[in-house]
């Protein structure tokens, strides 16, 4: 399936899809590659509810680089959707600037804003497909709006259906598609006018784990092959781990932590980040009073039997208290909590072993350093 997908992507690229459609719908191409594609400066958003002002987001500053997969995570009600909806001005900031692809969205006229929006597509948790249109006609919708000719648009829709693996479902109505298939149509629709940015608001939250993985894989491939910047809003750390390069954590209307996913995963500094990284707060409590170490596999070590080798080398019996490991493309990702031996020398030997193997180790317990 992946190989087939690659083939289609390549085909699309060679058939000129990447520069489609020219002119009218493309965002200004004047910027250079290194400046951030999305820049948010001193962004503030408040809603007034029954005369009362509620601050949802406060002094947000964010830069998202071209070609990145950027995650925004936070608990429910943290303001993630509000933030992402401001990135295409579906929602207007109370104050502050949102600059997308070199354009300050606040300075655009309604018409210019509509044009800019064609470069910033969005996919939603509830798919939001036109229910009275077939899959193919849903993909044609943005092309109609962009004023693309009928023949050209049809050919494009066909390519996109192929790209998302739904060529045989062109004439199905959304009600005749599964959730995952609906989201594939939504992705194809988002790609139709060749956006520079795709905003995903909880795009996989209505899907089961297997379908989630396939949708995330599709997004990852799109990012890799078409160079489209993707902003992923989610409340699930697993989604961030799976596809994002950078992540911002929103808590209590502020961005409390931002950086590389591996770094934040390995060293969550703030309480909010720790809550997300160790989703089960009770888990930590279970280890209180025991001398433990938490080992983080952040993708920098290969999926070698590290623990087994350690036991063989240090001759130290350890208890695995908790493990949440994933093998992503042969790279170990996740965390492991071990109960350390009572013998202090042996314990530090164990910790040392992992550290020399370039793993991040955090010691917990009464007498942890």
């Amino acid at each position: 399936m992946n190989a087939a997908l690659c083939g289609i992507f390549l085909k699309c690229q060679y058939s000129g899809v990447k520069n489609f459609p020219p002119g009218k719908t493309a965002l200004k191409q004047t910027m250079n590659e290194t400046s951030p594609i999305i820049k948010i400066e001193h962004f503030h958003k408040a809603f007034s509810l029954n005369g009362e002002k509620i601050t949802v987001l406060d002094d947000i500053n964010l830069e998202i680089e071209q070609g990145d997969i950027f995650g925004i995570i936070g608990e429910s009600g943290a303001g993630k959707s509000t933030l992402v909806r401001c990135m295409n001005y579906l929602e207007k900031p109370t104050s502050g600037r949102i600059i997308v692809d070199g354009q300050d969205l606040s300075r655009l006229t309604e018409g210019q804003l509509r044009e800019a929006r064609r470069g910033i597509c969005m996919i939603f948790q509830q798919f939001n497909l036109l229910m009275q249109r077939t899959a193919e006609k849903n993909i044609l919708f943005p092309l109609e709006i962009a004023g693309v000719g009928k023949q050209e648009a049809k050919a494009r829709a066909k390519e996109l259906l192929e790209l998302v693996g739904l060529s045989d479902k062109a004439d199905n109505y959304p009600s005749q598609l599964s959730g995952g298939q609906k989201q594939r149509v939504a992705i194809a629709r988002a790609l139709a006018v060749n956006p520079k940015v795709i905003l995903c608001d909880e795009a996989t939250s209505a899907l089961d784990p297997a379908t989630t993985r396939s949708i995330l894989a599709l997004l990852k491939d799109i990012n890799r092959r078409l160079g489209i910047t993707i902003v992923v809003v989610t409340h699930e750390m697993s989604v961030i781990e799976e596809i994002c390069q950078h992540v911002a954590i929103i808590d209590k209307s502020k961005i409390v932590e931002v950086g590389k996913v591996q770094e934040i995963f390995a060293h969550p500094k703030t309480a909010a980040a720790q809550r997300l990284v160790y989703p089960d707060a009770k888990m930590r409590e279970r280890f209180i009073g025991k001398r433990c170490c938490r080992i983080v596999f952040d993708g920098s070590s290969s999926y070698a039997p590290t623990v087994a080798s350690m036991i063989l080398e240090c001759k130290a019996p350890v208890n695995i208290m908790f493990a949440d490991m994933k093998d992503i493309d042969g790279v170990a990702f996740g965390e492991l909590v071990l109960q350390l031996p009572e013998d202090k020398a042996l314990a530090s030997k164990v910790v040392g072993y992992f550290r020399t193997h370039n793993l991040f180790v955090e010691e917990w317990g009464d007498d942890a350093e």
Binding site: N88, L90, R114, E115, A116, R117, R118, I120, C121, M122, F124, Q126, N128, L129, L130, M131, Q132, R133, F141, P142, E144, I145, A146, Y173, P174, S175, R189, V193
Partner: protein, 220 residues
């Protein structure tokens, strides 16, 4: 007097008049009510073109017309009817009050159908850079189509009922016949025949509307 060929012809003529009044005033009511209903939705707070003042005024106008019982409206607008059609009796004259009564009713039906369209779908349209006009013509109306068609059937049968009421003031059609023969002359057979016909016509309109709507509905 039993039903004979001349009363048969009279009833057939009445039926045609009723259909004429119903179809033409429903169409005219939609010419006014469809845009009005859409304007009510899009200019509302949180709509795609919020215009609170205009929205308030339109709502008041619609409510005022809706709150006047049809029979009273029928008599109240007689001068207007005479001014437009040159007469106050007959089926053509009845069309005028029918349109005045039906247009705001249709506007409300359209408004509620359009309001049913999922906000998320409209948002998706906006996020793709659609203009408000494109949202209306490519998202709102097509997505609300099954519901609009059901509304159309309801409007048609309601207007048919109104047209029969106009029989009181010599409005023509089956209602007129029922009142003249059944009510003033106690000819129950004619009364029953017209009532049965009215019921059949209502049923037919209702059925056609529901069937088309069901066929158009791709949500299931």
């Amino acid at each position: 007097m039993m039903l004979n060929s001349s009363t048969g012809i009279m009833i057939a003529k009445g039926l045609l008049e009723t259909l004429y009044m119903t179809v033409s005033s429903t169409s005219a009511a939609y010419l006014i009510g469809l845009p009005l209903g859409i304007i009510l939705v899009v200019t509302a707070e949180g709509g795609i073109l919020p215009r609170p003042a205009l929205n308030k005024i339109l709502n008041i106008v619609v409510n005022l017309t809706r709150s006047v019982p049809f029979l009273i409206l029928l008599i109240a607008v007689l001068p207007i009817t005479r001014f437009i059609t040159g007469t106050t009796i007959g089926s053509t004259a009845t069309i005028v009050p029918l349109i005045i009564a039906a247009a705001p009713f249709v506007a409300r039906l359209v408004e509620s159908s359009i309001k049913e369209v999922d906000k998320g779908i409209i948002e998706a349209g906006l996020s793709m850079g659609a203009t408000p006009f494109e949202i209306i013509t490519k998202v709102m109306i097509p997505e609300a189509k099954p519901s609009l068609i059901v509304g159309g059937a309801i409007a048609t049968t309601t207007i048919l009922g109104y047209s029969a009421m106009a029989g009181i003031v010599g409005g023509g059609g089956l209602g007129d016949i029922a009142i003249r023969y059944g009510y003033y002359r106690y000819q129950n057979d004619i009364m029953i025949a017209t009532v049965v016909l009215l019921i059949v016509v209502v049923q037919v309109f209702q059925d056609i509307g529901m069937k088309i709507s069901l066929k158009q509905d791709k949500r299931r």
